[in-house]
Amino acid sequence: MLRLKCPYCGQMVDETELTPGGEAHLKRATQNSSDDELLDYLFNRRNPKGVHFERWRHTFGCGKWFVVARCTVTHEVFGVYKAQTLKPPKSVVDAIANRRGHETQESQ
């Protein structure tokens, strides 16, 4: 079972308290978007084998959304941050670089 730290509550919580919400930092398509941009936003996903930035909701806790940087093979968690953050904060990027030098570029 995954145990993640909710950045709002500051507590480690079990996966059963949380709901996964898919890839983070998607760029929302607008009325003026092309078909391809809409396709990217709605369906195409990075689906990486390695570091993945994904959204989670602390459903049975504070109810708020946050973002987790997690490895999809080993489930190693590199950091969590609030959903209002537009791109991964430096501390998380550094944590990934420290532990996974070769994957940092891909993960951005």
Partner: protein, 414 residues
């Protein structure tokens, strides 16, 4: 050597020392007409029908691990075709139909057992959805029926039909659905391919896809570069990785789907039961083990394991419906990486790269589709144009909004 009662008797007399290898392990050539990446059921079936239906036998199947060691050997072997949409029904029924005679076609007993598949309706919404599917199937000439709780109980006396949380309101019953021995499907196709001169190359991981001017020219592997005219990617969970090597993106997320078996018990369940509301399905294997499948993990996962959280969820619900299994011990648990599309329908399609074709997105329901999927993919690769089975499942459908929406129809499990 043909597998037959005469050869079996002869071998019995001489100590079973004369059986030849089921398939050869040749050294890869430097060039093939067609290369298929992925030696699971779908890849092997594609190669088999390329050889059988189209006479294309200069084919290599490249497999990263061992044959059928991915999802082909990790599923719960359910075969059914009672989908909602016409396009899905066409390909899944073709597949189910091919399964009926596959043992004879491949000269290998795949133990196809059309014992009947029952999909329980445990909420009113589900009951209505299944009645709709039963009506749709009638128009599509698929033999299914919506049956009452009493009929459910007659077919499967170990079900608790009036449980407090999930009472059985009815079920969608497909009498010609069932199970087959999954490894043998892979072995049977491999043996038949090898007999036609198709090369099966195991332990050969593809590390790059070579292109020239927007056209595929071959692959780089751990065992050197191999060139080809046409390339097929049939790799399920790792489709995204391969697409990445070829420079395009897919509307796919790879998640873990897990299953488990109990200790063997005496025969008590002679149908396949799927309970989609509670994410669980169950059947009894010939060895007597209860084979239990659950829902997918909600996050991208390449670990081929899955988490205990989802096992607990599945088993908790099944224990309520099948009180008998509450004291069984579980023997094994395993996971496979399934490739989920947004509409839960597969992709059998040409790609942005010329001469490169992809067959993926079968999600949680790939095993039942192996023969039909191979048939349609072979047609696509041989003619470089999709046949009527594959056409609706093109990659374009996501761009065009032309979904084959089995996600809504199936609720959850396939």
């Amino acid at each position: 050597m043909r597998y037959s009662i005469f050869n079996l008797c002869r071998e019995a007399l001489c100590g079973h020392t004369g059986w030849p290898k089921a398939w050869e392990s040749p050294t890869p050539k430097s060039r093939y007409e067609v290369i298929i990446i992925g030696g699971g059921g779908h890849g092997l079936a594609t190669a088999y029908y390329l050889g059988k239906n189209f006479g294309i036998r200069d084919v290599a199947i490249l497999e990263k691990g061992w044959l059928g060691g991915g999802n082909t050997g990790r599923n719960t072997t359910i075969i059914r075709s009672n989908y909602l949409e016409n396009d899905s029904v066409a390909i899944y029924e073709k597949s189910r139909d091919l399964y009926e005679t596959l043992s004879q076609d491949l000269n290998m007993n795949i133990m196809f057992s059309p014992r009947g598949v029952m999909m329980l309706a445990q909420t009113h919404h589900e009951a209505h959805a299944y009645m709709r599917i039963a009506n749709a199937n009638r128009l599509q000439n698929i033999e299914t029926e919506y049956i009452s709780p009493t009929q459910v109980f007659e077919k499967c006396p170990i079900i608790c039909i009036d449980g407090p949380r999930y009472p059985i309101l009815g079920a969608l019953w497909q009498p010609r659905g069932g199970t087959a021995r999954h490894d043998t499907v892979a072995w049977g196709y491999a043996r038949a391919c090898s007999k036609m001169g198709i090369h099966i190359i195991e332990n050969c991981e593809v590390t790059g896809i070579n292109r020239e001017g927007g056209r595929v020219t071959g692959v780089t592997t751990h065992r050197g570069s191999i060139s080809c005219d046409k390339l097929g990617i049939v790799v399920a969970g790792h489709s995204g990785q391969l697409a990445d090597m070829a420079g395009f993106r897919l509307p796919i997320e790879s998640v873990a789907l897990q299953a488990l078996v109990s200790e063997p018990i005496k025969p008590c369940l002679d149908v396949v039961v799927m309970a989609n509301t509670v994410h669980g399905y169950i059947s009894q294997s010939d060895k007597g083990e209860m084979v239990i499948g659950g829902g997918t993990d909600g996050v991208i996962n390449y670990s081929q394991r899955g988490s205990f959280t989802y096992i607990e969820e599945t088993v908790r619900a099944l224990v309520e419906t099948f009180p008998l299994i509450s004291r069984l011990k579980m023997l094994r648990q395993w996971g496979g990486i399934v490739d989920m599309t947004g509409d839960r329908s597969p992709i059998i399609s040409a790609t942005p790269v010329d001469k490169l074709f992809i067959n993926c997105g079968w999600g949680t329901g790939g095993f039942k589709a192996i023969p039909g999927s191979g048939w349609a993919m072979a047609e696509l690769m041989a003619n470089e144009a999709p046949g009527s089975l594959a056409e609706p499942f093109s990659l374009d459908r996501f761009r065009e909004g032309r979904f084959i929406d089995e996600r809504v129809a199936a609720g959850v499990a396939h």
